[in-house]
């Protein structure tokens, strides 16, 4: 991302791969990329990439690039990662000069924290249309593959097989196009969507934006998540089946074997290597280590004290962990 104009290339910076198809003036035909919480490659199929390339060539022939707008800006003013204040310190501490996409989002969130405007939900950028009940076809990414029961999409009248033509007046040919519109959607209200059904364009339908609609169930893949809250200060691996049996746990129970302790607050809590975490802040359902960290980012704050149940030497014990009042530099 070194030197890139962030005003021009606005996308999900938690990703590791993203593409734009553009004309020589920098106007965009379509975006390609993006992921679900559960899987990084659902929407990265060869069939969909070939389709996106073919669509681009047709749109290019027609001169149908999107005009510059807040959705797809052709920015004249340049703003690079180095213009985000916390990025300067991050760059100076780097051994190599490469700035990753997620570094940009981390720096933006840290800047918001420094300004006192950080909110935990800022982690949830570029929401999946599934948040509104629309699961897009991975190969034909403007086709509705499924509609969740009782969702906003179901209430609006969206059906399986509908071809999404526009959302908020924007052409959405790909998953990434759709998420771009959702990124700029408000916290509440409605979103206009136009679909084609059985070859006929339907009247615009309204998707209700319900409270908390941007949040997804499992943001643990997002590298930026750690900016908005504390972490456990340790790392671990799932307990094996033999140990679960010994403790009397099922596969649905939390059991993380501590393999690495790297923060003073986890040491002060008395946690040791090879301890098993059976409960953290009252959560005892199965989680990966990343999901456990993500839970803490989203549900606890610096300065909080939480309770952990550990298993060590055949006994359960309860310990308290207190996070420092502010994140360490």
């Amino acid at each position: 991302m070194n030197g890139m104009n962030l005003n021009q290339f606005q996308f999900e910076y938690d990703l590791t791969w993203m593409a734009f198809f553009q004309n020589a003036s920098g106007q965009t035909y379509l975006r390609y990329g993006g992921r679900r919480d559960a899987d990084a490659e659902t929407y990265m199929t060869k069939a969909s990439l070939v389709r996106a390339m073919r669509q681009t060539l047709v749109l290019h022939e027609q001169g149908a690039a999107k005009p510059s707008s807040r959705y797809e800006p052709v920015a004249e003013r340049v703003r690079t990662p180095a213009d985000i204040p916390p990025m300067r310190g991050m760059i100076s501490r780097r051994k190599v000069s490469c700035i990753h996409c997620h570094d940009v989002k981390v720096a933006e969130l840290r800047h918001a924290r420094d300004q006192g405007t950080l909110r935990k939900e800022m982690v949830f950028t570029y929401p999946d249309p599934a948040n509104l009940g629309i699961r897009l076809d991975p190969d034909i990414q403007y086709r509705v593959a499924s509609v969740a029961p009782a969702s906003s999409a179901a209430a609006a009248g969206i059906r399986v097989g509908d071809l999404v033509r526009q959302v908020e007046g924007q052409r959405t040919l790909t998953f990434a196009d759709f998420t771009r519109v959702l990124e700029l959607a408000p916290a509440s209200g409605t979103l206009g969507i136009v679909v084609e059904r059985n070859g006929r364009r339907q009247d615009e339908m309204q998707l209700q934006l319900r409270p908390g609609w941007r949040k997804s169930a499992d943001p643990s893949w997002r590298a930026s998540g750690g900016v908005v809250g504390p972490n456990a200060g340790l790392w671990g691996v799932p307990a094996d089946q033999a140990r679960r049996r010994e403790i009397g746990l099922t596969a649905n129970d939390l059991a993380i074997k501590v393999t690495f302790i790297h923060k003073p607050w986890s040491r002060s809590a008395g946690i040791r290597l090879n301890d098993y975490i059976l409960s953290i802040d009252g959560q005892s359902n199965h989680m990966t280590t990343r999901q456990m960290q993500s839970y803490l980012h989203q549900n606890t704050d610096w300065g909080d004290t939480i309770e952990l149940v550990l298993y060590r030497d055949g006994k359960k014990r309860t310990v308290q962990m207190t996070f420092p009042d502010s994140p360490p530099e």
């Binding site: 991302m1 890139m4 791969w17 593409a19 553009q22 020589a24 070939v50 390339m53 000069s97 996409c101």
Partner: protein
């Protein structure tokens, strides 16, 4: 990658200018030809000029280079 799909992708990609925008670092990686047909350009402005001169659209990719 399936052989037919690879041929198809390569053929279409040759109709676009391929710009690896992620790597606008101080030291730019050298151009790398893929299958002798695709040559990534590691500079967005240069990609725009080539796109203009050739009349082809750009395929701008952000990825981890190293």
């Amino acid at each position: 990658m399936h052989r037919r799909m690879k041929v198809c992708l390569t053929a279409i990609t040759a109709s676009l200018f391929t710009v690896a925008a992620a790597a606008q670092a101080i030291e730019k990686p050298p151009r790398v030809d893929v299958d002798g047909k695709i040559s990534w350009v590691y500079d967005y402005a240069e990609g725009q000029l080539l796109s203009q001169a050739s009349g082809k659209p750009m395929f701008v990719v952000f990825r981890c280079e190293r």
